[in-house]
């Protein structure tokens, strides 16, 4: 059962989502909640390319949308695009260097948060442009960079193809 990468993905995403809605909702450094769903999608994209990143983003976003009160499907689109953006890393840097990967994850985290804001603004949800947004993006980026090593391992284990998958 666990041999299928997509089955593993759903189960792992459920656990990550549970962490997002419990632990990372409570731990708010500087009043900002970490976005581990976003980090998972970025790590998937950065290791497995554009298409896998987009699929993981779309699925993760859909699951996230069902537990928050924003319109369903909105986070899915935003995270899907974020995953695809993260996947572009492999095209520019086929031989990954660890520090470059960290920088890229930080950079895509910033872009991912901006995608979410743009998606919310496009459907008319109130987005107030203020200094706090910069703080949110900065804190989320720092948290994501700090958690990157662990999440790279988790996404690698989750999405790597076993013999049965091929």
């Amino acid at each position: 059962m666990l041999a299928s990468r997509w089955t593993r993905l759903i189960l792992v995403l459920l656990v990550v989502l549970a962490l997002q809605t419990t632990l990372f909702k409570e731990l708010r450094p500087f009043g900002v909640a970490g976005q581990v769903m976003l980090l998972f999608v970025i790590c998937a994209g950065i290791q497995f390319g554009v298409s896998i990143g987009a699929i993981v983003g779309l699925i993760a976003g859909l699951m996230f949308d069902f537990v928050v009160s924003t319109p369903a499907g909105l986070g899915s689109i935003a995270l899907g695009i974020t995953g695809a953006t993260a996947g572009l890393y492999l095209r520019f840097f086929p031989n990954p260097i660890w520090w470059l990967r960290l920088v890229s994850i930080g950079f895509v985290s910033i872009i991912g948060e901006i995608y979410i804001l743009i998606a919310q603004a496009m459907i008319g949800l109130g987005v107030v442009l203020e200094f706090r947004l910069i703080k949110i993006i900065a804190v989320v980026t720092v948290i994501n960079v700090c958690l990157t090593p662990g999440f790279l391992l988790i996404t690698r284990w989750t999405l790597s193809e076993r013999k049965k998958d091929r």
């Binding site: 459920l14 656990v15 989502l17 549970a18 962490l19 997002q20 809605t21 419990t22 632990l23 990372f24 909702k25 409570e26 731990l27 708010r28 009043g31 900002v32 909640a33 976005q35 298409s51 896998i52 987009a54 699929i55 779309l58 699925i59 976003g61 859909l62 699951m63 996230f64 949308d65 069902f66 537990v67 928050v68 009160s69 924003t70 319109p71 369903a72 499907g73 909105l74 899915s76 689109i77 899907g80 979410i116 804001l117 919310q120 459907i123 949800l125 109130g126 987005v127 107030v128 203020e130 200094f131 706090r132 949110i136 989320v140």
Partner: protein, 356 residues
């Protein structure tokens, strides 16, 4: 390899179309999306429960490390405030009781007549952009979308999503929050009237005053009325001197003494900015609005909240040119950053109620 890429592309297209369709349906409040959300919530709730139990010690440790000094300071401040407000509470409770009795006597709706459900706040929004909290009561307790949510200080928001045993509350600071409100005038006004040789001096003001003492002369008897604002409302204390024999004390309420109100719409501006009230008529009935006047819900057949629920006080008045009317910045009475228990009024306006 090529077939794998084709399959992935198809999956991406399918998922993207599904997401777009869901956004479209959800924006139109489709019951199918609500059903899907509810189904996923039911499946996900046990996983979340297990995660909550496992991660609670970590969360508690985090709070202990980050908030210990803040809690100590807050505790001493609260002790001071409790000591100060104990006396005021007694007077306020008496005023509220009197007000409710008067409303009931005149057949007017009161908050006391509306059923309410108490709920515990079980979490903030998992995202940092929206101003929402999650509570542990839902449709099983009679909660519906739109119902007003209060804490001990006043209105804090309204219900936006409801599940069987949990709900989401949009806070008053959310940019999407708006509700019609009344601005209650408490500006300084002094009136004097004489009825059958009795002079009545009434002074009311937005700041506390020392009681006015007048010496009754031989010809007239003077009553002194002092108003003291308590939590935005005004408790009235009237001191009557000994009534001269042969005369009876007569109370004549003047129309100009009654509170005059203007209506507008309050709108959230995010957690760092104060909510604002717009659409106040440019030509006010009671002159200019001053900082400190209370803001309460307007009520009405279309409003989602009953009338006279305290929201806060005006902290700043921004005058605007033309016919736009003033813009009022509101200091909310409730402390939204540290909510633990809230009260949901099971109130629905007449226009929302389904006929049997």
């Amino acid at each position: 390899m090529a077939s794998k890429n084709t399959t992935r592309r198809r999956a991406i297209i399918l998922l993207t179309l599904t997401s777009i369709m869901l956004v479209t349906l959800d924006l139109q409040d489709s019951p199918k999306v609500a059903g899907l959300r509810s189904l996923f919530g039911t499946l996900f709730y046990p996983v979340e429960g297990v995660a909550r139990v496992i991660t609670r010690p970590v969360g508690n440790a985090w709070y202990g490390v980050t908030n210990y000094n803040k809690l100590l300071d807050e505790n001493s401040l609260l002790r001071q405030q409790v000591a100060q407000q104990e006396g005021a509470t007694v007077a306020a409770a008496a005023s509220v009781r009197l007000s409710q009795e008067l409303l009931a006597l005149n057949g007017l709706p009161t908050l006391a007549g509306i059923n309410a459900v108490t709920a515990q706040v079980i979490g903030e929004s998992p995202t940092s952009f929206s101003q929402k909290i999650e509570i542990n009561q839902g449709t099983d307790s009679g909660i519906r979308v739109g119902m007003p949510v209060l804490n001990a200080a006043g209105l804090i928001g309204r219900i936006t999503k409801v599940f069987a045993n949990r709900s989401f509350v949009m806070l008053i600071t959310d940019p999407d929050f708006s509700i019609s409100v009344k601005v209650v005038s408490t500006g300084r006004k002094t009136t004097e009237s004489t009825v059958r040789g009795i002079t009545s001096v009434t002074t009311s003001t937005a700041v506390p005053l020392e009681p006015i003492s007048n010496t009754p002369d031989a010809e007239t008897t003077t009553t002194t009325t002092t108003t003291i604002p308590i939590a935005g409302f005004t408790a009235v204390v009237t001191t009557l001197p000994s009534t001269p024999q042969g005369l009876t004390s007569i109370t004549v309420p003047l129309a100009s003494d009654l509170d005059v109100r203007e209506t507008g719409v309050i709108q959230g501006n995010g957690p760092t900015r104060q909510p604002t009230v717009r659409f106040i008529d440019n030509s006010l009935r009671f002159g200019s609005i001053e900082a400190g006047v209370p803001i309460v819900t307007a009520g009405g057949s279309r409003s989602l909240a009953p009338p006279d629920v305290l929201i806060g006080v005006v902290s700043r008045v921004v005058e605007r040119v033309g016919s736009a009317g003033p813009l009022l910045e509101i200091e909310i009475a409730a402390e939204l950053t540290n909510l633990s228990f809230v009260r949901i009024l099971l109130y629905q306006p007449i226009t929302e109620k389904k006929s049997p």
